[in-house]
Every structure is written in C-alpha cells, then in structure tokens.
Symmetry: C2
Subunit: 124 residues, 2 copies
Amino acid sequence: MRRQDVNHPTPLYEVKAEFFKALGHPSRIRVLELLSSGQKSVSELLPLVGINPPHLSQQLAILKRAGLVQTQREGTSIFYSLAFPELIDVLAVARRVLIDVLAERAGLLVDLQASAPLPYPGEL
Amino acid sequence: MRRQDVNHPTPLYEVKAEFFKALGHPSRIRVLELLSSGQKSVSELLPLVGINPPHLSQQLAILKRAGLVQTQREGTSIFYSLAFPELIDVLAVARRVLIDVLAERAGLLVDLQASAPLPYPGEL
DNA sequence: GCGTTTTTATGCAACTTCGCAATAATGCAT
DNA sequence: ATGCATTATTGCGAAGTTGCATAAAAACGC
C-alpha cells in the first residue's frame, strides 16, 4: 500500500491508471493473451513466455494483485485464468488502436525518407 | 532507441506493452479523458489536471511520443487532441472491466468482514 | 525589447525489472 | 512418517526507469 493511499479514497483515475499499469509489461501482455484461450498452469506458461520461474511468478502475482487473473490449484500445478472475459475485449480494442498508431508511424517514416537529403549521391 | 531495438524487429507484445504503459498514469488518463470531448490547449488542461506546467508538459510529451495525441499550434497556445477516436473505446472498455474488478474487490471486502473475529464485541 | 505560453534540463527519490538463492507446498515412493 | 522430486513462490540486491520539483530556456505576439 502506497503512502498516498493511507488516508485518501483513491480517485477513479488512479484506479484506471493502476489497471493500465498492470498491462504495461511485455510478459504480462503475453500471459494475458495466452490465457485468452483458456487456463494455463505456470509450467505451461513458462516456455511460452520465456522468462525464468521466479520472474514469471512475480509477473503473475502483479496480474493477480490487480485482479485480472485468478488461480486454482490442481495437484502440484497452479492454473491461472482470466478473472474476466471482457479482458479479451480490452486487448482487442487496444490492438485496433495500435494498428492505427503503427500505420501512422510507418507513414512518418516514408515522409522522412522522401524528404531525405537526396541519399548522398556520391557516397561510398 | 533502446539497444535491443537496434537489430530486432520489436516483437508485437513489446509494442502493446508500450501502449498500455503510456496509459498507466493518473494524469495521462485524465488528459485523455479530457481530450475525449475535444481538443484543449495546455493552459486549459493545466487547472483541470492539477499538476504544474513542466510536469504536464512532460506527461503530454509521453502521450505524444506514444502516438496517442497530436498537437496544433494556434498563436501562442498549443492545442492537444486525441490522435485516434478509437482511444475513447479503449477507455470505455477498460472502464467496463474495472467495474468488474472493483465489484469483485468489494465482494472480497464483505467476505473479510463476515469472517472477521466477531467485530471486537466490547471494543470502544 | 517585454509578457505569455510551453518546453527542456537537471537532479533526486521512488518504483520496476529481473537474476540468483532460498523457501514452501504438494505428491509419491520407500 | 520421512525423504525426495516437482512445482511454484518469496527475499534480496543491482541496475535501470519513472515521477516530479525547481530553474532555465525557447517560441510566439505585441
């Protein structure tokens, strides 16, 4: 619990920021996408995410603390799953925006190339 | 440009994480929500966001670098606006998930209260 | 020039990431 | 039940990143 939270009823945009912060890491995005197609145990996730066990465990803990995933023990394995199916929608909508952003970036790139100082005619 | 980017085509989930990271701050969320209802100049945003000018400028720069907002000069003012209207959808969908998350949390809270050691019968 | 609006620079505290070592929790064999 | 292997988590510390304040500078209109 952060110092700030001790006495104040966390304002809404703080909570929203927390939510997005939880999504703001490659491994965590990867995990959520993997869980989009059904629950997975930690040992299943390990090779798919490609980080070492303690690190994965930590990232999973962050997602869990944020309330985005839930766990279920099954023998010696622990299965993680999305806490809410709507999370899939968040990822989908974000994907759509990202397409725009990347298209825009690509556009800027060709502009840059077009306005380049006439590719060094005599270079090399 | 990070070292890692020099030789590798940044994997997609890196880019996605960058996107969500850009949303992962209260002031930035606030700005995006304010811009959802139309462009605003920095000086308009200042009192609404409630942070000091350099800090706001920095947060705006982060949003701009992420490609989420665009600017337009008008005399001495600079107007910021959403780069893509779909951003509003992202915020909306996230809001829906958040409602679930918070409801769940509230549920856990009453469970905790229900299972409390019989609220200190004689306390104060 | 001067005032207004916005950005950049710099520095420090706070937080995050991630590896390694250690620990816990379970199931299975003896 | 004790030990052992498997599965997952926790603790800790180094390195890197982010947040935010103060001071300085840039860009514009007059």
